[in-house]
Symmetry: C2
Subunit: 273 residues, 2 copies
Amino acid sequence: MGVPGSYTEEAAVGYFKNEYELTGYPSFHDVVHRLETKEIRYGILAIENSSTGSVHQTLDLIREKNLYITGEAIQKVEHYLMAVKGSKLSMIKKVISHPQGLEQCGSYIRKNGWEIGTHVNTAAAAKEAAQKNDPYTAVIASKRAASIYGLEILDEKIQDNNHNYTRFVVLSGTKEITEGADKISLVFIVKNVPGSLYAAIQGFAENGVNLIKLESRPIWGEPWHYFFFMDLEGSLEDERIKRALSYLEIHCKSYRILGNYKKASFSMEVKNE
Amino acid sequence: MGVPGSYTEEAAVGYFKNEYELTGYPSFHDVVHRLETKEIRYGILAIENSSTGSVHQTLDLIREKNLYITGEAIQKVEHYLMAVKGSKLSMIKKVISHPQGLEQCGSYIRKNGWEIGTHVNTAAAAKEAAQKNDPYTAVIASKRAASIYGLEILDEKIQDNNHNYTRFVVLSGTKEITEGADKISLVFIVKNVPGSLYAAIQGFAENGVNLIKLESRPIWGEPWHYFFFMDLEGSLEDERIKRALSYLEIHCKSYRILGNYKKASFSMEVKNE
């Protein structure tokens, strides 16, 4: 998703190297639609940021659209403030970016007291700013976006948290288990009885399976009822995993395996320039 | 939070009746700051929508700022599309609202192919639209906001989901347990060992305590580590709850009770006009 210079493009280049031709689409829905019609083999979407949390549109689309996760990538995200040539930091009155970019630089923006505006993509915001040529409006995007669209950098690494990473998922319209898969994602709805969440995750605890993440999302049209998204370590071939999943059969109304794929390597020192 | 005509104001009026004087502030941070300085006795913020999920800024602020939840209110949210007099639905090119308002009307907006812009508050967006007098830009806000700011309604009940409710929390800078309290909110971080989440919630299952909600949020500066926010049924006076909480002592790095308050009454037929 996105135009050249987006963080997603950087993640896609890092993950696929030169194996596939890359094409950008303006929105999550566009990417998902192309996956459904099989116009594209894989789609790559941000799913979580280490400071601001999950990207719920991605979680919800994977579930709703019957997509599969076939891989993931982690990207260090450093935000730059940029504007057209002739602009200065002291002239800025408004700042535009993707809502996640704005949130990740929230303290910085509040300190400066700027008005905010959103865009569906950080790099697309940079592209538009270059066309509009308004010296009072800045954009938050990547260093590379500034260079691609000829904007001047007014301030650098403005994210509130220096340990700012985004995790991306590689999606496919067809099921596919990668070699050396060691991470499983699944979605489930527990039965509406007390203790059912506890009973559902009991199998993982008893079989020594490590839960990486557990996140709840509302069920559409059923106020205050939730899905759970879960990431765990392991392979679907593993007997311990099979035993753990059998608890979900019993204690869940429904569940679906979203994918079994290779965990992205991650260290706090990861750098992408 | 908000200006006259906001959904939060409606919730505040419903909850406090005429017991307290109401004042509006432009942002979450402003409300929280006034709670910390004790300029205001209570603050009311949206914490969850039944279609789009949790309002993470609220969850994070309650935890970070050592605030207490002293009550909650649920409000049916019906969105209206409005613009200045002389505008027509066919003229609209851009639509402005709070990100939650835009998300709750996402399908409707995509169907119309409009550009989107965000504002910190739906009613404030309506107020600004009335001043700017631009017939090509519409605002998504409450029916009451249209009437207060003299805007014309172009379309009604445009939310994607007719069962669209927002839950608000009443916050205080000081601990306070309401009479007849039957709901507890808490935040915890489990120890970094496999099975610790399971072990932490074991006490609730074994003591027959009903978990209403469990939600994870990233820990600032510690990528891929999470807090859990939990809502459950009961009173801190109850022996079963005391026994269940003793499990948290053992299996958590840290935990804090955010409040013990009266659950909002809710039925799908709730209507607020």
